[in-house]
Symmetry: C2
DNA sequence: TAGCACATGTAATATGTTACATGATTGA
DNA sequence: TCAATCATGTAACATATTACATGTGCTA
């Protein structure tokens, strides 16, 4: 069901076509929260419309159909957010790789950790700049879509970098 | 393929039956990295054995079969860890929910953020104690299975808590 | 006028979940 | 002897990926 609510969430922020949502998925949710290909997004939008949670509000060139969230869609999304999940559904290949680092020879683990630290730092710098630009536009509103998540992303990247450096420093010789 | 390598990783640490691995999955990988039910684990173990990456090393009461990783299994696992992933495969419902917080009324978001902060703090205390106990037993070896990941988990929990508190403090009135 | 980004879909396959199904051993 | 935990599996269904398939509009 998460894909459904991810899409409703994006539509709650602004209407968009399958193509738009596919792009917005990549730009916002992809890195830390959820991902989906267009081949999953298009059928799900059709279902959303069938269920009355979204509707086509415009048709444009090249068969483009812009969807908007309906009142019912907003209600369902809110309801879902209000209901505490009974389990923690997480699948993260990067974190799985971190876990399995201890099955590697120490030297190789150290190498991977170094790459990880460098990469996290690079991404942190990039995201920080993006956030700065966004804050300028929104006047620093933390309830702007994606702003809370971006803050979380920055803090996560800092953790990834610092953790990797800690690990390198504490590896046996 | 991640499930396969998650299982190989657990087996690289110690042999175990499907039942064992199911438990070890819950105890270690579940929270931050990966999860799988027994209905997925048993068939995958059979495939692992068919492919020569694991083998049955003991049979016990109640049809219990203990699997161990083979040389080929270790080689495949190492090979996988060495190959940098070309995409970031992450699916996290908790983070998705954080993302969608900005589609809620501020008051409700504030409430959820408070619960989140409290829960993260509670879990952090619990995990910290577990890590302390583990360190006592292992003599503080960071390459002990799960130790790097536990450190990452602690830091992540601290981030979740601090981020939620930051969000609460910066929410518009 | 060629190449790129836009734009949508389906089919085959792989992965993951829920429900069904069965039975043994252990400890209170 | 009863309940919990141990122990393994399959079937039906849901979700997600990869490959196939088609065509438009813009701009250099």
């Amino acid at each position: 069901m998460s894909l459904r609510f991810a899409l409703l969430g994006l539509l709650a922020d602004a209407p968009g076509s399958g193509y738009d949502l596919s792009r917005r998925f990549e730009d916002s949710l992809q890195q830390y929260a959820w991902h989906a290909k267009h081949s999953q997004i298009y059928p799900e939008l059709t279902k959303l419309a069938d269920d009355g949670l979204a509707k086509v509000v415009a048709e444009g060139a090249r068969g483009r159909r812009t969807y908007a969230i309906t009142e019912q869609g907003r209600a369902d999304l809110l309801e879902w957010l209000r209901t505490p999940p009974d389990h923690r559904s997480v699948r993260s290949e990067p974190v799985l790789r971190m876990f399995l680092l201890s099955t590697m020879p120490t030297d190789e683990a150290r190498l991977l950790l170094k790459e990880l630290a460098t990469e996290a730092d690079r991404e942190l710098i990039e995201l920080t700049e993006q956030v700065r630009l966004g804050d300028e536009q929104s006047g620093g509103d933390v309830m702007a879509f994606g702003r809370l998540a971006a803050e979380y992303g920055m803090r996560q990247l800092a953790v990834a970098r610092d953790w990797a450096q800690w690990a390198i420093a504490n590896l046996p010789d």
